[in-house]
Amino acid sequence: MHQFQIDSLAGSLSGNPFAFTNSALWMMIVLAAIWLFMIGGMKRELVPGRWQVAVEGITSFVTSMVDTSIGPEGRKYLPWVFTIFIFILFANLMGMMPFGVVPGVHPFTVTSQFTITGVMAIISFSIVLIVGFWRHGFRFFSLFIPHGTPMVLLPLIFVIELLSFLVRPFSLALRLFVAMIAGHILVKVFGSFVVSGLTAEGLMGPTVALLSFVFIAGVSALELLVCAIQAYVFALLTTLYINDAVNLH
C-alpha cells in the first residue's frame, strides 16, 4: 500500500495546507508529458509525420465523440472534455510506467486518489448544473420527468431520477479511483508472490514465481487497456451529462 501514500517533499503535511507532495510532483510530470506530446504534433505540416498523426488522432477522436453526443453546440465544451480525457489518460499511463527500475524512484498514480478524481467529477457536475440552469432556468427540472409518465407514478419517478442524477459525480469519481487502486493492488500482490517464491526453498517456490510473473505480464497489458478505457469512459459520461443539460432529452 506504500505506493498510494502521499509524502511531503517540501514543507510538512501537519498543519501546513501548502506542502509540495509527491502527488503534486507527479501531476507536474504528467502536465510536462502532455505538453511535450502536444507541442511535438502541433507543427501543422501539410504532410503530417507520425507524431502529428498521433496528436491529430487523439484530438479528432475526442472531437467526434463530442460532436456525435452533443451536436453542433458541443464545440463549446470540447476544451474541458479534451482536458479531462488527456489528463486522465496520461496520469493513468504514468502510474503504469516501470520507473521503479531506477533505485529510489517509484511512480505515483495521480488518479488513484479520491480527492483528485472527486474534484474532476465535481467540476464536470458543476458544468452540467450551471449550463442547465443558465439555458433552461427551472425547466431544467423536466430532466427528471421522462415523457409520457403516468400522473400516479410522477412523484416516485421524480425522486428516483433525482437520486440517480445526484449520484452521478460520485459514480464518476469512484469508478476511476477504484479501477486504478484495484489494478495496482492486483499487480502488487502477484509481485510479492514472485519475490517470496524466489526466496522459498524447493521446486514449488520458483514454479509459483514463474507463473505469477507470466500472470503479471498479462495483467499489465490489461491494465494499459483499462487506463485508456477509464479515460474514455470518464470523458464519454461527461459529454453525455453535458448533453442532458444542453438539450434536455
Binding site: M65, S69, L174, V178, A179, V233, L237
Partner: protein
Amino acid sequence: MDFASAQVIGAGLAAIGVGAAAAGVGTVFGSFLQGALRNPAAADSQQGRLFIGFAAAELLGLIAFAVAMIILYAR
C-alpha cells in the same frame, strides 16, 4: 468467532460481487458482438452505448471491491 476471522470471511463474501460484475461485463460485450455480427454496418455507431453499458456494469463490481476493502481494513 473472533473479529478478525469474521472480517476476512466478510471481505471474501463481498468479493463475490466482483465475480458477478465479471458476468455482467461479459454479457455486455457478448450481446454487442452478437448484434454487431448480424448488422456490422450499424456496429460502429453503437460503440458509445457499448462503453456506457460496460461502465455501468463495471462500476458495481468496483463498488463490491471497495466494500471488500472497507470490511477488510475496518477497525
